[in-house]
């Protein structure tokens, strides 16, 4: 796989994405209240918190599914208030979902190929003829997808409709589809939910490898605190839609507010 381009001259360690005073509410219900944090290029950033803390909403804000009422988001130095998912994807933000959102009727290959949509440009006419530049393009992208399949060790299910796969493998295919976008920022929503120990170990290995080998910046939500502490460089903790802590795994895990939130001290 190729390493994604360092868009806009952002170097490792610089801020890739900054969330600034973001608030989001549905009707009267506040999902996120005035949250700010940043994600630096090349790091693995974890977002943790008890159920209903607004973690998934935060991801949805970042990739444009939700539009915050207040606050700014700066990605690769460009500030924005509203962005559509389509635009987020084309700027290099890929994601996976908590409950796996795959194209269930399509094969593993086709699912991952779908992740290449934005990278394919040949026009409609050539595509219909399946000839000339479009054919070359298809072959070139297929090669890229095969590298991902090799990387995730899913050769055996290449042509299986993903709806038939066990949950753990579906999560892997979903990661593959996100990787196919060659993202600069990869959002993973509970990548290990519902997995057994072995599958969790595999998935952890893949996440670390993606980060190491391709320098992809990763933001992940995860419930398994052990996994979070092992994997991530920095952790932000949300509770009831507010940020209560932010720092290295060691700092966060010794933070009194965090301990209270997880042990459920009454407010």
């Amino acid at each position: 796989m190729r390493a994604p381009g360092d868009g806009h001259g952002i170097m490792a360690g610089d801020v890739l994405l900054a969330v600034d005073g973001v608030s989001l509410s549905f009707g009267g219900v506040k999902a996120i209240t005035d949250v700010s944090f940043d994600i630096r290029k090349g790091e693995i950033r974890a977002i943790i918190g008890p159920n209903g803390a607004g973690k998934t909403s935060m991801l949805n804000v970042i990739n444009g599914f939700y539009h915050p009422q207040k606050g700014r988001i700066t990605f690769k130095g460009e500030m924005r208030r509203r962005m559509r998912p389509y635009e987020a994807a084309s700027q290099g933000i890929a994601r996976t979902f908590q409950n796996v959102a795959l194209f269930k009727g399509m094969s593993t290959i086709d699912n991952i190929m779908a992740g290449r949509t934005l990278k394919m440009h040949e026009n409609f006419f050539w595509q219909c003829l399946r000839h000339g530049p479009a054919m070359r393009e298809e072959v070139e992208h297929r090669r890229f997808v095969e590298e991902i399949i090799d990387f995730l060790e899913i050769q055996a299910i290449r042509k299986t409709p993903v709806g038939k796969l066990p949950y753990g493998l579906q999560k892997r295919v979903e990661l593959g589809r996100a990787l196919a976008m060659e993202p600069e920022l990869l959002l993973l929503d509970e990548p290990m939910a519902g997995m057994n120990l072995e599958e969790k170990e595999d998935m952890s290995r893949f996440i670390v490898d993606v980060n190491n080998q391709y320098g992809t910046t990763i933001a992940l939500i995860e419930h398994d605190i052990g996994v979070v502490m092992d994997l991530s460089d920095r952790v932000v903790v949300l509770e009831y839609g507010r940020k209560i802590a932010d720092g290295s795994p060691a700092e966060v895990s010794s933070d009194q507010a965090v301990i209270d939130a997880y042990l459920g001290v009454p407010h």
């Binding site: 890929a94 979902f97 086709d110 779908a114 992740g115 219909c128 298809e138 976008m181």
Partner: protein
């Protein structure tokens, strides 16, 4: 006993006695079925990609036919008229996406369904305003579609095939093959299938729903134009034609709302079933069963396989 004999035995005796008539009837059913299938195909395309049951598919057939003929009457050469009509269908697709689908995104299905009623009456109104309400003759000859018929001496009698029917079947088959190829093998086809599967996931990989909607409505428009030409060449182009849209309903029930092969097979079954029923069983009740037989078949089918012949199994996880 007599009535049972007339229902269960006599028709088959007749079929055996005059196989040439049987073949003739089946052929006519087949041709009708092909056209039903084309209309159902238009429905399926839109239903798969946007979850909308497009009531306007029937009027789109009429509107496409009228535009084609109308443009020709204004002095535009036939093939240029076809291209211009395609342009009009594209504009309709864009307009539907902008004015109807985009503002109504995430609304309940029934709202979108009602919206397609609106589109139907709007198109009827515009059509009458521009082209008038009188039936028009399809410009079949100008499009080099064959006319006349061929006869085969076979099975102890004659079977007569209209050339236009043969052409219609061939063109329909080619179009279905092209569509299938487009769906399976190209990036846009893959994106269409992706959208049909999961909107959320499609958005996350950067597929633009708006663009996809325009493409499927335009594709449905192309299918409508082809249907309009073929059907128009057999009778006339008139607003009465939109009724055939209702024939698509039993076809869809039979084939499943989300299945392209289902639309095709369903269309053929309904077409052939209808003609056979009319010819062999119709006289029992004084004829005219063609208009309701299709619904009857579909109803029977619903009892046994609610998801249709090829539809995805409906499994509600609890």
């Amino acid at each position: 006993m007599d009535i049972l004999y007339k229902i269960f035995v006599d028709p088959f005796v007749q079929m055996g006695a005059a196989p040439d008539l049987l073949v003739q009837t089946m052929w006519e059913g087949l041709v009708a079925g092909v056209l039903y299938a084309l209309i159902a195909l238009g429905f399926v395309l839109i239903f798969k990609a946007s979850g909308v049951f497009n009531f306007a598919q029937g009027i789109m057939v009429v509107f496409a036919g009228l535009t084609l003929v109308g443009l020709h009457e204004m002095g535009v050469p036939a093939f240029l008229a076809v291209i211009l009509t395609l342009g009009v269908m594209f504009l309709i697709a864009v307009a539907v996406e902008r004015v109807v689908l985009r503002p109504l995104v995430n609304q309940p299905d029934i709202i979108l369904f009602m919206a397609t009623f609106g589109i139907t009456y709007l198109l009827i109104g515009i059509g009458e305003l521009i082209f008038g309400g009188n039936p028009k003759r399809m410009i079949a000859k100008e499009l080099y579609l064959p006319s006349g018929s061929v006869e085969f001496q076979t099975l102890g009698g004659f079977v007569q095939l209209q050339k236009i029917d043969i052409a219609a079947s061939v063109i329909a088959a080619i179009m279905i093959a092209v569509l299938a190829f487009f769906f399976q093998k190209t990036r846009i086809g893959r994106a269409l299938r992706a959208v049909a599967d999961s909107h959320k996931a499609a958005l996350s990989v950067g597929i633009s729903l708006n663009q996809i909607w325009v493409i499927v409505w335009f594709t449905a428009g192309i299918v409508a134009l082809v249907t309009g030409i073929m059907w128009g060449a057999r009778s006339d182009v008139s607003f009465a034609l939109q009724i055939i849209a209702l024939k698509a309903l039993p076809v869809l029930i039979l084939g499943g709302f989300t299945s392209v092969p289902g639309a095709i097979v369903g269309g053929l079954i309904i077409g052939i079933g209808e003609k056979l029923g009319e010819f062999y069983w119709g006289p029992l009740v004084g004829g005219g069963i063609e208009s309701w037989l299709a619904y009857f078949i579909a109803l029977g089918f619903l009892l046994f396989r609610p998801q249709g012949l090829f539809g995805e199994k409906i499994i509600e996880r609890i």
